[in-house]
């Protein structure tokens, strides 16, 4: 369960989150909003990438800032640009990098990485330079590198921004099949099929919090 208690955040003089209070227990929750609405900043507070200026964040009762290591073991994070998330030269090495703390044996790490990539349809790319993969393959690799650790919560920040329609669908299907609680920050409304709850942010505040139908209708009206 993710809890935000009166969370506020400022970048200099600019307020990006203002008094956000939410308790997210549903398996699929989306944060929707226009550019600059605060959804990415709110998502980043979940694993301590952003320490809120005020208020509290708890993930299963733990504080992501004070207890960052423990929270990050439970929370996987997928960014919009996989090129920034991939830290090793080849696909196999990047997935293996995620396992460095949990699997000490290198050969076992490599085997697990190869098996995970195969599960994501990237079995032929284990040895390939990661930066040469297509955009869709890179985003799947980024997802595989996070899910290989089997976190309890997956936070995705605009994960389909750089994907074409086919890859976007493939990514959405992959998300739909996960056992993890998913918190998705997006302005791509096509991704919300099957979501339990949609929180709409505007100017750093929660302006709607409902099932996808009414929340999306509110967001559309807000943008029109």
């Amino acid at each position: 369960m993710i809890e935000f208690g009166r969370v506020g955040h400022r970048y200099g003089e600019r307020t990006v989150l203002d008094d956000v209070t939410l308790t997210l227990a549903e398996p699929r929750v989306a944060l929707v909003g226009a550019n600059g609405s605060g959804k990415s900043t709110l998502a980043r507070t979940v694993n301590g990438l952003v320490a809120p200026s005020s208020g509290t964040v708890r993930v299963d009762g733990r504080d992501p800032v004070r207890d960052g290591a423990a929270v990050r073991r439970r929370v996987g994070f997928v960014f919009s640009d996989p090129d920034s998330q991939i830290v090793m030269p080849t696909a196999g090495e990047d997935v293996a990098f995620s396992l460095r703390r949990t699997v000490r044996d290198r050969a076992e790490r490599a085997r697990l990485a190869a098996a995970t990539l195969a599960d994501f349809g990237l079995g032929d790319h284990v040895e390939h330079p990661a930066h040469q993969l297509s955009g869709g393959q890179k985003q799947l690799l980024a997802l595989a590198a996070v899910l290989v650790l089997d976190p309890d919560v997956l936070v995705c920040d605009e994960p389909t921004t750089l994907l074409d329609l086919r890859n976007k669908r493939a990514f959405a299907e992959r998300l739909a099949g996960l056992r993890q609680q998913v918190l998705l920050a997006t302005h791509d409304l096509d991704l919300l099929d099957g979501f339990d709850r949609v929180v709409v942010l505007d100017g750093g505040r929660v302006v709607a919090d409902d099932e996808p139908g009414p929340a999306v209708a509110y967001y559309r009206a807000l943008c029109s």
């Binding site: 990438l49 998330q85 080849t90």
Partner: protein, 205 residues
């Protein structure tokens, strides 16, 4: 694609060699090339490196960009050195450069970065008592290798964008966006490392 080496899968003796030993061999070769001024010895080192490429069975599609880069560098550097220090010294400098770059590239083509990182971590393990963190240095090696591809990609995109705007001859049109995107990439990479728990090991200890 960058001509500089990134791992090329294979089963040759060089691929199977322990990464620590391979790294030491490259360092020894580079050091040896600096210690001698004899063009015959340096020519021999170049021949040795070339033989390594043959033994490693590196495919031509990977050899050609490296060869092109080495020839271009040799011609450019050779012309400047010839003008500055004369033909005999130029031959020494060029052979030295070719042997060292050829060996380093061969090393990266035949060694998985993950294995190299492991070798660095193991090799530096004894220095832990002096405050050296082998894991951090190992990651530094991995990130450096990864950055070759990423920065090469950014440079290609920036060049294409400058060309599209008719500014392909402007150094500023390349340098400014390249610097901005590189710094932005560095920021995002740091954030990604934090998200993937890098540095949390300290909390675990």
């Amino acid at each position: 694609m960058t001509p500089l080496g990134l791992y090329e899968p294979g089963t040759s003796p060089l691929h199977r060699a322990p990464p620590g030993a391979s790294l030491l061999a490259v360092v020894a070769l580079a050091a040896g090339s600096v210690l001698t001024d004899d063009p015959r010895v340096l020519g021999g080192l170049c021949a040795l490196v070339a033989a390594g490429w043959v033994v490693a069975r590196i495919p031509w599609r990977r050899v050609w960009p490296v060869l092109r880069m080495l020839v271009a560098l040799a011609v450019l550097l050779g012309a400047v050195q010839w003008w500055l220090i004369g033909p005999e010294r130029t031959l020494v400098v060029v052979l030295r450069l070719v042997s060292a770059l050829g060996a380093a590239t061969l090393f990266t083509l035949t060694t998985r970065v993950d294995d190299l990182v492991g070798a660095v971590e193991r090799g530096l393990g004894p220095l832990r008592r002096f405050g050296v963190d082998p894991a951090q240095l190992g990651l530094l090696v991995g990130l450096t290798m990864q950055s070759i591809g990423t920065l090469s990609g950014i440079a290609g995109q920036v060049r294409a964008a400058a060309k599209a705007r008719g500014a392909d001859r402007s150094p500023t049109a390349f340098a400014v966006p390249f610097l901005v995107r590189t710094l932005r990439h560095a920021d995002a990479l740091g954030e990604a490392l934090a998200a993937r728990g890098w540095g949390d090991e300290d909390d675990d200890r």
